[in-house]
């Protein structure tokens, strides 16, 4: 184990390198730029390919090409840049291209407050591109976890051939903390099978093997509706439905394996705080303080935002009296919790570009208890 003192953005760059990322394309945007800056230096040392592109669309576009050329590839951005990338996120979902996009969320909409924090892109991450598709979105609450989840993002992207979004926040990106780096970390590489159909499978996980350009596979990669070998089939209803269904099911049916969370004091909790990202730090502080006062309060910390832990939320909702969701947006995750929880769900929102402090959460909780 080695101990470092890093910012969240630096930890993400280091996590990507550890995961095997060797292609990075990006465009500067506050508050994510330190990821690109560190990668640009570190790739010189370790032999990765770095390029600063002319915009976010080109950045993620070149990540697509690099991924099919065999790279574990990544880009990082923030809200407005993330919006520009959305068309290609849909392209990656349709072509089953593994890639990682880091969104260091800042206060929006529009340009908003570039140096201020928010978690306003949760729904953009889910619904930002056209049509029905699934992504995986992770959300770290510390610098340590920013490192670990970046590695996990690559593993999931390779395993499920899907765009994986790391939804972190300005407050994590610019936070400096001690992190411990383990020697043994499990890495996953995309499965390959010469001659196999690259866009269809009978395997239960629904994920076909992925060849690489230059291997003589004569690949046909297109985000138009295609059959299992990539031939465009733009007017066949059956093929379209089968493809779109598989793209969704390969994530939804494997969600128990993908979804990660932490439970705190949930056994007897009548009041439950569901929290994620930086806000979860304040939430846990609050929950522990109130627990000491004898309140039957617990917390669920979401480490995966998409796919959403529907079953778990349903279970908690069946046992709790009230679920409380504090977030740095106008209630994006609270809305999702309401879809599954049968109990009362209280959304506490703060969109002033500042992190939510424990005092604020305690005050809100007391009002409802």
């Amino acid at each position: 184990m080695v101990r470092y003192y890093l910012s969240g953005n630096e930890a993400i760059a280091e996590g990507a390198i550890r995961a095997g990322c060797r292609y990075y394309a990006g465009y500067p945007i506050t508050p994510s730029s330190e990821i690109m800056e560190r990668i640009s230096v570190r790739f010189n040392e370790i032999g990765g390919v770095f390029i600063q592109m002319e915009d976010e669309i080109a950045s993620i576009g070149s990540v697509i090409g690099a991924s099919w050329a065999g790279a574990k590839a990544m880009t990082a951005t923030s809200g407005p840049g993330f919006t520009l990338m959305q068309e290609t996120v849909g392209y990656a979902a349709m072509t089953e291209t593994p890639l990682v996009v880091v969104d260091v969320q800042r206060a929006g909409p529009g340009m908003g407050q570039a140096t201020r924090v928010a978690s306003g892109d949760i729904m953009q991450a889910k619904w930002g591109s056209s049509g029905d598709y699934q992504v995986i979105a992770l959300c770290p609450w510390s610098v340590q976890e920013a490192y670990e989840q970046t590695i996990k993002a690559f593993n999931l992207a390779e395993k499920y051939r899907v765009p994986v979004l790391l939804l972190t926040e300005e407050a994590i990106g610019h936070l400096r903390e001690r992190i411990d780096i383990m020697k043994d970390i499990e890495l996953f590489n995309r499965k390959k099978k010469a001659g196999a159909a690259p866009f269809g499978t009978k395997e239960r996980d629904g994920v076909p093997p992925m060849p690489t350009f230059g291997e003589g596979e004569k690949l046909l990669v297109t985000a138009s509706t295609h059959d299992s070998y990539g031939f465009r089939k733009t007017d066949d209803p059956l093929i379209h439905d089968r493809l779109v269904s598989r793209l969704n099911e390969k994530i939804i049916n494997n969600r128990e394996k993908i979804i990660d969370y932490e439970k705190y004091y949930l056994e007897d909790a009548k009041v439950v705080v569901i929290s994620y990202g930086f806000t979860a730090r304040s939430s846990l502080f609050t929950v522990e303080a109130m627990r000491e006062e004898g309140e039957k309060i617990g917390m669920l910390r979401l480490k995966t935002l998409w796919p959403f832990p529907d079953g778990l939320t349903r279970d908690i909702g069946a046992r709790a009296k009230v679920i409380f969701v504090p977030e740095m947006n106008k209630g994006q995750v609270a809305g999702e919790v309401r879809k599954y929880a049968s109990c009362q769900v209280v959304s506490f929102t703060q969109t002033n570009g500042e992190v939510i402090y424990p005092d604020t959460i305690i005050e809100q909780l007391r009002r409802h208890l």
Binding site: R22, Y23, A25, V49, I51, M53, E54, D55, I57, A58, S59, G61, S62, V63, I64, G65, A66, S67, W68, A69, G70, A71, A73, E87, T88, Y91, F213, G214, G216, E217, K218, L219, L220, V221, T222, A223, S224, G230, F231, R232
Partner: protein
């Protein structure tokens, strides 16, 4: 050996998607002949295209790795593949709307970086696939589905544009000049750095029918009349050069 080029076509295809009179089939055949004469191995090549009729030249026709990207994004994707695996010979084949309009920024930046790509812009001077709307390469005054009173704007001179941006090789030919075009494709494939060829390709279906050129022969004749070589253009007055398209090489890094 009249059917030698079939080895470069993806097996199982029975027809192309091109309209009768479309020039893209001629361009496709010339690319195959250039590859054949250079004895390149298609398994070491990658063909990247965007959206539009020309995007369908390599995908699915070419019996090689093909990447059919989002509209306008062929060059970024090609850049990523080439940067990560420099052993790949990467050729971008797409249309004028795709490369010059929606993807125009990527075009000039790839030229500025002198990215080692061969970019073939099949220009039919109109948006073909979407039904014949005006393009940044449509001649001034030409009629399209969105310029009922004639195109009020001047077209791009794409060769000048990429030369100014730093391309190593830039040329323009029409499919009515097949031998010069084939030689140009061969040259571009051999030169390191950013190589750009604008290929004028007739579109009777969408460009022709709005401009009194209803037949395939009409659009071919239009191009033959409009295109003149650099050599011939030298001896003509500015008045005579009006409404002409000059073909030839505009920069040649190999010289």
């Amino acid at each position: 050996m009249p059917r030698d080029m079939e080895q470069y076509l993806r097996p199982g295809l029975t027809s192309t998607t091109f309209c009768p009179g479309c020039g893209h089939g001629i361009l496709m055949g010339l690319i195959f002949r250039a590859i054949d004469e250079l004895k390149l191995n298609m398994d070491e090549m990658l063909f990247v295209s965007g959206i539009g009729c020309a995007g369908w030249i390599p995908s699915p026709h070419f019996n090689a790795d093909t990447l059919h990207t989002l509209h306008g994004r062929a060059i970024p994707a090609a850049t990523g593949a080439k940067m990560f695996n420099p052993k790949l010979t990467v050729m971008v084949i797409s249309g004028d709307g795709d490369l010059a309009d929606i993807g125009g920024n990527h075009l000039i930046h790839a030229a500025r970086r002198n990215m080692d790509l061969t970019v073939i812009c099949a220009s039919n001077m109109v948006y073909g696939m979407t039904g014949g709307q005006v393009c940044s390469t449509t001649p001034a005054g030409a009629f399209t589905r969105t310029t009922a009173q004639g195109n009020p704007y001047r077209p791009f001179d794409l060769c000048k544009l990429v030369v100014a941006a730093g391309a190593t090789y830039a040329a323009r030919y029409s499919v009515t000049q097949p031998f010069a075009l084939k030689a140009s494709i061969k040259k571009a494939l051999q030169i390191n750095g950013f190589c750009f060829i604008e290929v004028l390709s007739p579109c009777p279906t969408q460009f022709g029918r709005h401009n009194q050129l209803d037949t395939p022969v009409g659009t071919i004749k239009y191009l033959m009349d409009k295109c003149i070589t650099k050599k011939r253009a030298k001896n003509l007055s500015p008045e005579e050069l009006k409404n002409k398209i000059i073909t030839g090489e505009f920069t040649n890094g190999a010289d």
